[in-house]
Symmetry: D2
Amino acid sequence: MDQATATTSKTAILLMHCPDQKGIISHITLFIHENQGNIIYLDQYVDRVEKRFYMRVEFEIDQFNIPEEKIYDYFETLLAKKYTMTFNLYFNDRKPKMALFVTKMSHCLYDILSRTDSGELKVEIPMIISNHLHLKKVADKFNIPFYHFEMNKENKVEQEKAQLELMKKHNINFVVLARYMQIISSDFIESYPNKIINIHHSFLPAFVGAKPYHAAHERGVKIIGATSHYVTTDLDAGPIIEQDVAKVSHKDTVKELIRKGKDLEKIVLSRAIYQHVNRKLMAYKNKTIIFD
Amino acid sequence: MDQATATTSKTAILLMHCPDQKGIISHITLFIHENQGNIIYLDQYVDRVEKRFYMRVEFEIDQFNIPEEKIYDYFETLLAKKYTMTFNLYFNDRKPKMALFVTKMSHCLYDILSRTDSGELKVEIPMIISNHLHLKKVADKFNIPFYHFEMNKENKVEQEKAQLELMKKHNINFVVLARYMQIISSDFIESYPNKIINIHHSFLPAFVGAKPYHAAHERGVKIIGATSHYVTTDLDAGPIIEQDVAKVSHKDTVKELIRKGKDLEKIVLSRAIYQHVNRKLMAYKNKTIIFD
Amino acid sequence: MDQATATTSKTAILLMHCPDQKGIISHITLFIHENQGNIIYLDQYVDRVEKRFYMRVEFEIDQFNIPEEKIYDYFETLLAKKYTMTFNLYFNDRKPKMALFVTKMSHCLYDILSRTDSGELKVEIPMIISNHLHLKKVADKFNIPFYHFEMNKENKVEQEKAQLELMKKHNINFVVLARYMQIISSDFIESYPNKIINIHHSFLPAFVGAKPYHAAHERGVKIIGATSHYVTTDLDAGPIIEQDVAKVSHKDTVKELIRKGKDLEKIVLSRAIYQHVNRKLMAYKNKTIIFD
Amino acid sequence: MDQATATTSKTAILLMHCPDQKGIISHITLFIHENQGNIIYLDQYVDRVEKRFYMRVEFEIDQFNIPEEKIYDYFETLLAKKYTMTFNLYFNDRKPKMALFVTKMSHCLYDILSRTDSGELKVEIPMIISNHLHLKKVADKFNIPFYHFEMNKENKVEQEKAQLELMKKHNINFVVLARYMQIISSDFIESYPNKIINIHHSFLPAFVGAKPYHAAHERGVKIIGATSHYVTTDLDAGPIIEQDVAKVSHKDTVKELIRKGKDLEKIVLSRAIYQHVNRKLMAYKNKTIIFD
């Protein structure tokens, strides 16, 4: 609940980036003001090395001159083309639809569902997808449809295809892998570019791949971490969204690292989802820009 | 899941403190070894200023010469009296019974129940008690009996009495106030000395009392915190168990502090419960000793 | 070394705040562009509750149409009055002059001097002032004039007067109290409003006043902290600039808290000086806005 | 200043590890008590997986029956052989001699020297060794002999030999590489096994090797770190002593990461030196055990 959600008005949220040029802020704010929009949030950032300009603007549109469904077009025609912008427009009264992938561990799943249930996370969850049945009982508690897709080497291609069809049918906007212990294929990933959020149970880029807590214990690190990131076709190498860490000591066994790490994982994943859902987050090349 | 729970054997856990004297460790470890106990954890601490000795020992008792139900007596007779110990003995196969008090906010409640559900937190919860009905639906999801005790100035004494009777009937071992927005009376507190865990939504001793996030915002702090502690009759002044903090900035509104603080609160409270339930925690005077 | 200092050009830095109104950003950026300034940093923040607008702009002035010494006047006449701004203008090639007050402990002093020496902290230090002689040897190592002002109840008024005169003579811009163990008078404080930075060895507002580590130990906290703030006439209650914390345990004696706290103190103080010297910091009412 | 240094007595510090067996603590404490030693610190740890026992004991020896110079022998004969111990014995009145290696950056050097100067770090520094002359002026400030060893591919072997001879001549006990930008040879490393402390400017094992801040920026991490470790012949892979981290954002340029990282580096290195000098640290296989 930031400044944006403090309003009870209907708002539009603009996320954009483009080559840095003079006059962009002026031009965009003028466009909003002239059309009777009321800006309630504006933050911008310029990457001086890449010479790229990023902005997030949220504005009330109750009195806006341009009808809601045409704002995108008008903005594209009048502004985006001139500045070669990449942009997106969202509305605060539309909850994005999320597909939630899990396997056997419940901590991230519970954390996400309890936040949704309390209203903190404004998202719809039309489906929980899993390659095992273990967490069906959790989905049932929250009355969320649970789909079981058993996965093995032979059926992977067709199962993923079936998952994608199901997601398409329900107009899924983005995907969360909440400790989903499967590598997903390039085809799947490319269907949701920068729209699949994963939680990796290490401080990336340390301990890429399987069993990071075992590797951390073996290496004798004094701090463990967790990393949420957008999934790309390069394993554990997509744009990082959030990271957090916890101190450990020589006393911590692998089991103890796993236990302590769970708290990091669920918080770091839920924060990433929050930023994504509240449109505070842009990915460009292999990095994220976060407006918070 | 520490070293202790790595065993599948039945274990006894001894928590003790006494005036510092020579030979305590030798004497206790000898007692265990001579009776065929196998020590799987031993940690001790000496407060040189207070001249006080603290120890936690966990030992397998499958082959123990003394029957389980008589270990307490033997230990008291043969060792505790000699060293003027304060001690307690627990067994790893008995789950403590916890009464959970809540009001309207669900984040701590969900965090505790999901940990219990996954087996991470080895505790029985025979009752959730609340002064409001808001969270009954959460209790229902987890099939835990929900008791509604409406509280006001007039009925407080009798309602607390009824709560205590209910707890006694179910052999409740300890109490957790998971954002329970009521001040509980001295009589209630004294029925469960160092057995009531509260979560306060500030970095104590800063911002004691009501509305700490509002006070933190007003003061312009750059870090917020949460504190779990045993409840004593002195408001927010009991022995501190766990604390954690998060960085904030001038951008954070009170609502944003509340949102960010919730994550601290639930983690800090659940950690305290974990330490308490796993017998890693002793309180003496106004402080806690934690063996982790 | 941020984006700003990455330039080798001469720059002006504008720090301003005013009641929130439409068009401020446009107006200011237009003023800079029209006069051939090149913006290399711009960040702004709106406090929606206080309805106040804050901005930091840094721009290259090598080609600026308005002579350096007249920019302030032009800006005031053409912009500041219209928007009722409070503002200040700085130039990146002028090092501010700092008076450094110390007593007996050297850790903050060394940290500041080593950063100045390495060029990280772009500040001139024409004087180190102390009520004791202990640290003269440190001042000597760095060839900084050391002034000894013995302080007692009787001479406090005249000694502070002499200090102020000395500082005036050297055109001191701001003051740093680097563990200076004296309460300074209102007259002194009011001579340098929001220009005296103090380090307090606790996580304010916890443990205001003397001996905070003793108080922290007595209270049994699990985290200690340090706070840098602007000095106001209200003890330890001025606008907070930076805070940081460290985990401690029941094992830590008061001496150990003091030792661990020193690292927090020096880092937190030096960060505050850095923000102040690099003009990334504004104070308004009892809070700070930090652009980093 | 821990419990140990709270005494004004002469003390011995025993660091030992051996295969876990029953009766070790009893046997050692009995040995100390029977000979009129007074234990002021005892901490032990058992690695249940490796079945290895570690202990640190500090005891006053003013009244000790065995002469100081013979304690090692007696202990070896009476105890160490029986339990196949690896052990060391230190005395609190003997400062270890440290050789300090630097190149051009002063932040770690200043941090170490200011701690030594204030008495916080009880160590003698008979020499600062560098492959450049930049920091001679810092050594001069503190009146520490500065030795310049220019290094290139041709002279490396003989220069290292000369360094080792110089160190031997001054009875150097351990080495600190305070951002020494040279890879040292196996021969050198093997002359000081687990006695060379390095600071690496990343959160190991992430970003091994050169230019870790550039790599961190390239990867878009949200947290940077620093790691102090004992040097082994495997680059950046020796036993980790201390790690710490700091949050960064998309706004941070490489230069800003370098600036923020310096604070981590100096604190993390100085902490490691403190643990080493105060004999709170053991390395076994590729890990450290820290008693703090």
